[in-house]
């Protein structure tokens, strides 16, 4: 168990969302299905830090600036 931000996760990591950034973006993340406490899989980390996560059958791309603000726990 390691506490990090999402941009630090690597391809293949199973992660748990610990804390989302405040504000409108939080509501948008929740609507898309990413909530605090959710378990996701990081399926791609692009050079520069853009992250692609998978939740069930859904794939969501998250930009570096946003990924930096999402606190996660590595499984």
């Amino acid at each position: 168990m390691l506490s990090k931000t999402l941009d630090k996760s690597k391809k293949g990591n199973q992660i748990k969302i610990h804390k989302l950034p405040e504000g409108n973006i939080k509501s948008q993340l929740i609507r898309l299905g990413i909530t605090e406490g959710d378990s996701l899989k990081c399926i791609e980390r692009l050079p520069g830090g853009t992250i692609v996560v998978q939740k069930n059958r859904q794939e969501i791309a998250i930009g570096f600036e946003l990924a930096k603000k999402i606190k996660i726990i590595l499984h």
């Binding site: 993340l29 609507r31 898309l32 909530t35 830090g49 853009t50 692609v52 059958r57 791309a61």
Partner: protein, 675 residues
């Protein structure tokens, strides 16, 4: 009790052959759903009209309206929820607030994403029916959804459909007729009763509870905060998860959709080669096949040799005409011969015969010079009928069809959002996020349409930057068509020069704008749709409708442009304009003086301007300079008007004037360097 009501409803549904009485008390029918759920297919079916169907957010940008059995049908942009997070959402929100009946289209394969909106619509107290689309794909992917149970939990009717195959469309009447308010979250209902005044409709009340700023300012009333919104959203999300656990079964949890191509297109190491391969295919298809083989045939053979020749000789029968012919002798030399018919060809049948025999034996190049004003205006060099129709129908149309076909393939494959993801970091450097790739790619189709799609961008700053990029540097399909035709056969060199100049301008422009324009840029957050080979049926349909739309839109302005240039030619204004611009055109751009008439046409449509260069005798480098200048030149009238609407007068005019300066400045720089 619950199951009983459902049963009666079902038997009602089975027996019903719905005939709507005029309006039937239904105000309107609104289609709502997440992006990529196939809303537009339903809209097309219901309204008999065509709405753009696409596999990425942002295509249903303006409200599409039609009628079904006398009731108004409205399509909305794809949204993940009702809110005010961007302009598209605001459009959808207002339509939904005013909806009579909502058909909520849901993607059966991403139910956990889509049900959030469904629950929100139910919480708003709206009358809805759920259309479970892509239900035919469930079996293939070993997913089971208990529709009955879902219907019971939601308290609304759920219909299985497969829009691409029109499956389940026979139930749409029932879906409309039996739309009802579902089972609302009881906590929210209590909260609504307690906090919101009964005069405010429940739908707006819910958004007020959710702290929606725009609705707050509209009613001059603030009830919820963004914290309240988060709480409500989390609650709703949890309900979605519970519902999914109840109704959905996946036979093998490991049967995840794992698409190698989709994954490879994300990472630059593999994604860039994929992009290059795609662009190469586009180049061979458009640059080689369509712009050389097809256009050679349509433009030269059908357009000039058959269509124009017959029209012109028909007119020449009755009016003063001089016909210039250039023919090639066996030894390679050329021979000029002129036939004069001061009273029309029919008045001198002997010479007419001689002329006709001459063209049969020598097959020369033929130019008709009409002496009278009216024939000149309609059938002359810039003839409203001859030139316009040749350019529009025989040159542009095949090329535009080619481009729209490629664009449709790209859009429907689910590739664009992945391209957006791959390019995100590069876009960050110019104050954008990867999402901006969508309006920019669309710009290669049509700038006017792309201008509207800038709405899906998160902030004003991003919208300004992308709008400027679109007007300055992105050539639309019609323009690309002419460029492809102009450069065809002159090798890769001029093409590389053109691309690198335009690309450099793009980088400089966006870097400067990023520094100059204040404000924030939003980070990338994008849902990646499934990737797959597009349904060709849909691709052809889209290509057809867009090409048709192009002809309708562009056709008019082509005639206007031709008339303007024709009139300027006859009144001598074209000469004056050419003389005024001559120092620019001849010394700075190093082009013949006549090239400035292309800029008159270019103000009407850029592709039209480029087309004006077509019949000029230019060297390859002169061609390259002129297409660079025309690409950077002012946007066409249609996109100019849309830009003013979207971005306001100040910004629109600033962009318009700046394109003049940039086009001539950069074009000249290149000319000085290479000619």
């Amino acid at each position: 009790m619950e199951s009983e009501t459902t049963l009666t409803n079902e038997s009602e549904i089975l027996n019903s052959t719905l005939q709507f009485e005029k309006n039937a008390g239904i105000k309107n029918i609104v289609l709502a759903g997440n992006p990529n759920v196939g809303k537009s297919c339903f809209f097309n079916f219901l309204s008999g009209m065509y709405a753009d169907v696409s596999n990425f957010p942002g295509t249903t940008v303006s409200i599409t309206k039609g009628y079904y059995k006398g009731i108004e049908v409205l399509d909305t942009p794809g949204i993940y929820g009702v809110g005010s997070f961007n302009d598209e959402e605001k459009v959808a929100r207002d339509i939904i607030l005013n909806a009579g009946v909502i058909l909520n289209v849901v993607n059966a394969l991403s139910l956990d994403r889509d049900l959030f909106l469904t629950l929100q619509l139910i919480d708003m107290g709206k009358k809805i029916s759920v259309l479970l689309n892509f239900s035919d794909e469930l079996e293939k992917r070993k997913i089971k959804i208990d529709t009955k149970k879902l219907s019971n939990i939601l308290g609304v009717e759920v219909f299985e459909t497969a829009a691409v195959y029109k499956k389940g469309f026979d139930k749409l009447d029932d879906a409309i007729k039996f739309a009802k308010t579902g089972k609302q979250d009881s906590d929210l209902t209590k909260l609504l009763l307690k906090k919101v005044d009964g005069t405010i409709p429940q739908s707006e009340g819910l958004l007020l509870l959710e702290g929606d700023d725009s609705i707050s300012s509209k009613n001059n009333l603030t009830i919820g905060t963004s914290d309240d919104r988060e709480r409500i959203y989390i609650g709703r999300r949890n309900r979605v998860t519970e519902i999914i656990d109840e109704v959905e079964q996946e036979d093998s949890r490991k049967g995840e959709i794992f698409n190698l191509f989709g994954r490879y297109s994300l990472h630059p190491l593999t994604g860039i080669p994929i992009l290059i391969c795609m662009l190469a295919l586009v180049y061979f298809f458009i640059g080689d096949f369509v712009s050389q083989r097809v256009v050679n045939f349509t433009e030269k053979k059908i357009g000039r040799e058959i269509f124009e020749y017959h029209v012109k000789s028909l007119v020449g029968n009755f009016t003063d005409v001089e016909i210039e012919t250039t023919s090639l002798n066996n030894d390679g030399s050329t021979e000029l011969k002129t036939f004069s018919f001061p009273n029309g060809m029919d008045s001198n049948l002997q010479l007419k015969n001689e002329f006709q025999n001459f063209i049969i034996t020598k097959s020369p190049q033929i130019e008709f010079h009409f002496k009278d004003i009216i024939p000149k205006l309609f059938f002359g060099e810039f003839g409203i009928i001859t030139m316009t129709i040749t350019y529009l129908v025989f040159l542009l149309f095949p090329l535009v069809v080619g481009f729209y076909f490629i664009m449709a393939l790209f859009e429907d494959s689910g590739y664009l959002p992945r391209l957006a993801t791959m390019l995100d970091r590069s876009f960050n450097k110019i104050g954008l996020n990867g999402r901006a790739v969508i309006p920019i790619m669309l710009g290669f189709g049509c700038i006017t349409m792309a201008n509207i799609t800038t709405r899906l961008l998160g902030s004003e700053k991003e919208k300004s930057i992308v709008t400027a990029i679109l007007q300055f540097v992105i050539p639309c399909s019609a323009q690309l068509a002419v460029i492809a035709a102009l450069l065809s056969g002159s090798g890769i060199g001029p093409l590389l020069l053109y691309v690198s100049v335009i690309f450099t301008v793009l980088i400089c422009l966006s870097t400067i704008l990023n520094k100059l324009i204040p404000g924030e840029s939003t980070p990338l957050l994008i849902d990646l749709p499934m990737i797959g080979f597009p349904k060709l049926n849909n691709v052809f349909k889209k290509t057809f409708y867009r090409s048709w739309g192009f002809m309708k839109e562009a056709g008019f302005w082509f005639f206007v442009g031709a008339l303007a240039v024709g009139l300027m030619d006859i009144t001598g204004m074209l000469k004056i304009w050419q003389d005024v611009l001559a120092p620019f055109t001849t010394t700075w751009l190093k082009l013949p003086k006549e090239a400035s008439s292309a800029f008159v046409m270019g103000m009407v449509r850029r592709d039209f301007g480029a087309a004006g260069l077509f019949h000029m005798d230019l060297s390859i480098m002169q061609k390259t300079v002129s297409i660079i200048t025309i690409t950077l030149f002012v946007p066409c009238i249609a996109s100019f008007v849309v830009m003013l609407k979207e971005r306001g007068w100040k910004e629109g005019l600033l962009v318009w004037f700046s394109t003049w300066v940039t086009a001539f400045f950069i074009g000249g720089l290149v000319a000085q360097a290479v000619i």
